[in-house]
Amino acid sequence: MQSIPENFVQVVELAAVLILTITVVSELIAVVLSRGHGLLNLGMQTAALAFALYLARAWIFNLVFASIFPSINQFAEFMLTITIFAAGVGVDQLVKYFIWEGHFSRVHKIKPPGLLVGIVRTAIYLVAILSILQFVYGQTITALATLSGAFAVVLGLSAQTTLGEMFAGIAIAMSHPFHIGDWVKIGDLEEGEVVDQTWRTVRIRTRDKTIMNITNRVVAERPVKNFSHAPIGIRQSEMIQVSNQLDPHWIREILVKAMNDSGLVLHEPAPNVLFKKVSEGLADYAVAYSISNYAEKPIIADKIWKIIFATLQTNGVAFGLPERRYEILDQRTNLKMVSAAKDASA
């Protein structure tokens, strides 16, 4: 029974096993000391070490592993299994580093959708397990394909709706009409902030802080209005009414200045006051402004109203009170009576 390298390749294997053993031990120490950093390297190096042990099985089995494994074939199977599985861990960590943390978090500053992460990770480990079955334990891929095909039919029939939700979820994740943390309005449903996307639903936190679960298919079918990625701010407007005796230019001037000075609204696009219409004794204006943070919409509107109120008050303008003139002609007395009535509901 051979337990010493006896050709050039085996001598190189011995060097590789020695060096990789030391680096794997070091990586393990580094991972423990840094509390979990460097798992990717550990996965890759363990794979490399296991593969080296697999290649070196001719001499290293009798040297070290003969008392652990009943036969050299089982040793080889075990080492290949570790190799492929550790490679899977390495790929998973690679994807985590470059795609989830890299592309999403570092480059685009967004949380990767949990659904996509789950699907990709499952796929990676599924491929790893299938490879182990195929290459290590000799299960042919045809059998597996048939098995998984049959399984898919059964699953598809029994879980049609759930699968529909899942594929709708994938479609949403691919076209990304919104990201986690965006403010959206889906169809005619209440607007809110996207907090999560799962296999089945999109979760939205509405203004009243309740969570609304909308199934993926509903989301995929409805129009999605996204407030968080407007390129130039979101336009808002408030309607006010003042007396029609006042100069529209002056009204516009004082309100635009007040809003620009408030610091609450975007300067570009600039706030504006639009003269909408004149009705009996009243003039209607739309006070339009742009905001960038849609989540703050009600709070900003509240402050804007306070500013409008204060501005009008300091300039001696009363809020719209309709003035009506009635002329009643009494033929008998020829008395001309003039009365002015005030009606708040007009």
């Binding site: 010493i4 390298p5 006896e6 050709n7 050039f8 085996q10 001598v11 190189v12 011995l14 060097a15 020695l18 060096i19 030391i22 680096t23 031990v25 070091s26 990586e27 120490i29 580094a30 000391l33 840094s34 460097g38 390297n41």
Partner: protein, 481 residues
């Protein structure tokens, strides 16, 4: 904030001769590093063949190569962060404080002074015989010592360009000679000769002494790369050390590894065969004689590697002495540089005198052979201990200041440093257990204890704020306070 501090210190700590540095680039720095280690390819490694056979020596060489790859990577990152002439001492001083810096400096100094002394003794043995070939009388050994020290002392003081050009020429010459010899031996190379050693019961043709042989061969394999790190001591003499030194160190390692594998395969596979080569004091000799014929001049060629190493080590030790003086570990007058060349003349003189004293002391010892053995072991122990400091400093710097700007980053990061630390520790244990180096270990322990006593009695713990290392250490701590 740290980056700003780093920039100001880097620029202020560089010696005044900005223009002279501009010409010391990657090739010259490569020459310095290769020169320091190339001697290991000329002699020493072949004794490992006797222990482990060709296969075992190949394994030991690859393992030693991995250790030195980790070392070169880690040390390159450290020098890119702290480009100071003190090298290992500077990193230890910044990271572990003054006591750590002092002990690291002591280890490096022991390593280089002992290596230089053993080289000087070995080289002189050859040179004194030289006139005999022409029918003349023996030269006096102390005269040769003094002459060699004067020559290399002068090269180290004259000018930066002269020194680095000499180093480059010596290194290229030493490597070229190795390539020439292996090329000349190629026609008579037979692979079966590599496996011709007698096989012990536990071994086979590839590993004649089994696994024990491999373990015993590792200290010899370390010789192939020992002292490659001297490049870091040139941080204040080269242009753009943050880029030049990592590049030159990695290139030095690559060239040494390639030539080492070439020598390791060709030499034992050629006449007079693996058994004879494993016992020769100059394994290159047979090849040289085959190509150039026998003459006293050809015998001198076997010294090329040792001479290149001596040249580089005088330089490295003098920079270390300069940095020690600047940090307050040695008299401040040693920081003086020669006005014309900008080279630390007094430090060079001190180094040469120390080597001379050490070599002269061997005159009063019974067996010069034993002394050389102890000196070689001390050089290896000092070197390995200084590597411990490098790896530990690397790890501490990484964990304490992870966000520090690092112009060069080690490919292996903390893992490489931990692996290096483990390998050096194992190497030291092997040397202690099997290396028959008990005397050297005893000597090293005594020197360390003496260094500790000196440190505390002389009050060397007082911070000397003028040293660039101290300024850098303060700039590191400021933003955290």
């Amino acid at each position: 904030m740290i980056r700003d501090a780093l920039m100001t210190i880097n620029t202020s700590s560089a010696p005044d001769s900005g223009n002279a540095n501009a010409r010391i680039g990657v090739p010259m720095a490569w020459g310095l590093s290769v020169g320091a280690a190339v001697g290991g390819l000329y002699a020493g490694w072949n004794l490992g063949l006797g222990q482990a056979g060709f296969g075992g020596m190949l394994v030991a060489t690859l393992v030693a190569g991995a250790l030195y790859l980790f070392l070169v990577m880690s040390v390159s990152e450290l020098v890119s962060v702290m480009p100071y002439a003190g090298g290992t001492m500077s990193y230890s001083l910044v990271v572990f404080g003054r006591f750590g810096g002092f002990i690291a400096a002591m280890a490096v100094l022991v390593a280089y002074l002992c290596a230089m002394s053993s080289i000087l003794l070995g080289v002189t043995q050859e040179i004194v015989k030289f006139p005999e070939g022409f029918g003349l009388s023996h030269l006096s050994a102390p005269l040769v010592w003094a002459a060699l020290l004067l020559l290399f002392g002068w090269l180290n003081v004259s000018s930066r360009i002269t020194f680095f050009t000499t180093a480059l020429v010596l290194s290229i010459g030493a490597l070229a000679l190795l390539v020439l010899v292996t090329a000349g031996l190629l026609p008579s190379f037979s692979p079966s000769e590599l496996l011709a050693l007698a096989v012990a019961p536990t071994g086979n043709r590839w590993l004649p002494n089994g696994y024990t042989g491999v373990v015993l061969a590792i200290p010899f394999a370390l010789w192939l790369f020992l002292s490659i790190e001297v490049g870091i001591f040139s941080a204040e003499d080269v242009s753009e050390p943050q880029r030049t030194l990592p590049k030159s160190l990695l290139l030095s390692f690559a060239s040494l590894l390639m030539i080492a594998l070439l020598v390791l395969i060709i030499l034992p596979g050629s006449p007079p065969g693996v058994l004879a080569i494993s016992k020769l004091p100059d394994p290159l000799g047979p090849g040289l004689h085959k190509i150039f014929g026998r003459s006293p001049l050809v015998d001198l060629l076997t010294l090329a590697g040792a001479i290149a190493g001596f040249h580089s080590m005088v330089y490295a030790s003098s920079r270390l002495v300069l940095a020690m003086a600047r940090a307050g570990f040695m008299p401040a007058s040693l920081t003086k540089v020669a006005p014309a060349s900008g080279m630390p003349s007094r430090a060079v003189v001190v180094v040469c005198l120390a080597v001379f004293a050490l070599v002269f002391a061997t005159r009063f010892v019974a067996s010069e052979k034993q002394v050389v053995e102890v000196l070689i072991h001390l050089a290896a122990i000092g070197g390995l201990v200084s590597y411990l400091f490098v790896f530990a400093a690397y790890l501490k710097l990484h964990s304490t200041y992870p966000d520090l700007p690092r112009p060069f980053q080690s490919m292996f990061g903390a893992t490489g440093a931990i692996a290096g630390l483990l390998m050096v520790a194992i190497g030291l244990l092997l040397l202690l257990a099997f290396g028959e180096a008990a005397t050297a270990f005893g000597a090293f322990a005594s020197i360390s204890i003496a260094a500790c006593i000196i440190f505390f009695i002389a009050g060397l713990g007082r911070t000397d704020a003028s040293a660039p290392e101290e300024q850098f250490a303060q700039s590191l701590n400021k933003p955290q306070a």
